[in-house]
């Protein structure tokens, strides 16, 4: 919690500079610059990340995960210096942490299954953080995916479940990479709209 907290505001330009090819003799300065960059990024988006993680876990857990995401980023030396990508990375790290936490909880609950009586179990099942992964969400999402227009669905399925890049998908589908990106945008817009009904 007692991390350096520089003032808010726009990120300084030089932090976005790509490292130039020459070997950096001053690794310490690089590490400091990295920490400064991560801290700025974190301070700018911490409130949003906290709010976002509350979609998946309880607020107390979300606050802890936000901190953990920050430490994880500090340990990663290769964070992209392009803000929207670095931000996406921060959110992805947070999402993965939330997923891990939920899986750990689910396992622990399964372990406790024999010890708990029926009443306690029923209470467990109503935890807010268990609801999102629930059957209802799955059904809504699956239907929304199936209802996507054909090309859009193809692009989404290949990118999401086959981990193909846009150029790879372009090569397969005869769409241009630009069109692939547009289809991806359309897919995620429709899926997010479909989920909007439940949140």
């Amino acid at each position: 919690m007692d991390q350096p907290t520089p003032s808010d505001g726009p990120l300084p330009k030089d932090l976005f500079r790509q490292p130039d090819g020459a070997p950096d003799p001053d690794a310490e300065a690089a590490a400091e610059a990295h920490q400064a960059y991560v801290t700025l990024l974190f301070n700018k988006y911490r409130a949003a990340l906290q709010r976002y993680l509350c979609r998946f876990v309880a607020p107390d857990d979300a606050a802890e995960l936000v901190q953990e995401a920050y430490f994880r980023l500090l340990r990663r030396g290769d964070l992209v210096r392009i803000e929207p990508m670095a931000r996406a990375f921060l959110f992805e790290t947070g999402t993965n942490l939330a997923r891990d936490l939920r899986r750990r909880r689910a396992t622990r609950h399964a372990d406790q299954h024999v010890q708990l009586d029926g009443q306690e179990l029923a209470e467990d099942h109503q935890r807010p953080d268990e609801q999102l992964a629930g059957e209802q969400m799955r059904v809504i999402l699956e239907r929304a995916i199936a209802a996507l227009p054909q090309d859009t669905r193809t692009v989404f399925l290949l990118h999401r479940y086959r981990d193909l890049s846009y150029p790879q998908i372009a090569g397969l589908t005869q769409l241009s990479p630009r069109t692939v990106a547009r289809k991806m945008a359309e897919a995620i817009e429709r899926l997010s709209a479909a989920l909007g009904g439940t949140s």
Partner: protein, 326 residues
């Protein structure tokens, strides 16, 4: 289902898609700042990210698998029985390499059997689609001879390394002969490498049997997914040991495929993976369409293909590589 599109959804979805594709750079900085300064935009972007994260939970579900199977059917026409699902993009890649016409190819037709030899030079890779739907990926400096008949599917790995994705055909075992040994599969995915008098067989999916001698006396060693065995020209097959599957998958994945894209687009894509940007300084060539499969990191092969194919010259300096007319 209650589907409504919020007014802010579209730019957010566009940003989401661009970031996922790595289609942002320092020039999009101002636009990003304007976008993210609006709280409604931020929330809409988070909606997209949540939908993306939640959709990951559906991986492997029956409904998603059946949608994916439908995609495969549509992309890989005409459909073939039991063709591995990644075949489709391999097919595209193979067609591209064929279009470039790099590798030497010799086809002989003798009474219903097919024979062909494929070779790759140094720094060249090649994907070969076989008539039964099997796919052979040749690493650099590799030669294979392929002999198919009604009774057998035989590959001779003369030298180098190749990855085999075998379409199921119980009536025709798939045999890879390397040195004196034979690796036999029915339908699976495995890699064989010949190097300095010894051969290594690595199994990625399914099971194969390996015998060190093609003679009938040798006992066949079963090798399962995640395992590897070695054998020498003279000796017996080693006991199976854990395989370095990651190395082989890395070899497979570190590839960039250009399918009828403009040169400008291809360079933009390639530059995302390379330290030194390649800049085109040949007016009029930006919109030329190119095809090809290249290995990420092997700049020399990429530049060489551009120099040859488009009569360009690569000049290095000032932290960039300039492509100019020859």
């Amino acid at each position: 289902m209650n589907v409504t599109t919020l007014p802010q959804a579209q730019p957010a979805a566009e940003w989401f898609a661009r970031v996922r594709g790595g289609q942002v750079d320092a020039t999009s900085d101002a636009a990003w700042r304007a976008f993210v300064s609006e709280p409604r935009n931020e929330v809409a972007l988070e909606d997209c990210e949540a939908a993306w994260a939640l959709s990951a939970e559906l991986a492997g579900s029956a409904n998603i698998e059946s949608l994916l199977a439908e995609v495969d059917r549509r992309l890989a026409a005409p459909p073939r029985a039991n063709v591995p699902r990644w075949r489709s993009w391999r097919a595209a890649a193979a067609a591209l390499v064929a279009a470039l016409g790099i590798a030497a190819l010799l086809v002989l037709n003798r009474g219903g059997s097919t024979q062909a030899q494929y070779d790759t030079a140094r720094a060249e890779e090649r994907v070969v689609n076989l008539e039964d739907g099997s796919v052979v990926t040749l690493n650099t400096g590799t030669s294979v001879r392929i002999s198919y008949s009604k009774e057998h599917r035989r590959i001779d790995l003369l030298h180098g390394e190749a990855l085999f994705e075998v379409a199921k055909d119980a009536t025709r075992p798939f045999e890879v002969h390397a040195l004196a040994g034979v690796t036999t599969a029915v339908g699976t995915r495995f890699d064989v490498e010949v190097n300095a008098g010894s051969a290594a067989v690595t199994v990625i999916e399914g099971t194969v049997t390996v015998s060190a001698s093609s003679g009938s006396g040798a006992a066949a060693v079963p090798v399962n997914a995640g395992q590897a065995v070695d054998y020498t020209a003279a000796g017996a097959v080693s006991p199976p040991h854990p395989a370095d599957v990651g190395r082989i998958q890395g070899w497979e994945l570190h590839r960039i495929v250009f399918s009828d894209v403009t040169l400008a687009q291809a360079l933009a894509d390639y530059n995302r993976y390379s330290e030194v940007p390649i800049v085109l300084q040949a007016p009029g060539l930006e919109s030329r369409h190119i095809n090809g499969v290249f290995r990420i990191g092997d700049e020399q092969a990429f530049l060489g293909a551009l120099e040859q194919g488009l009569h360009l010259k690569a000049e290095r300096g000032d932290g960039q590589i300039r492509l100019v007319e020859k």
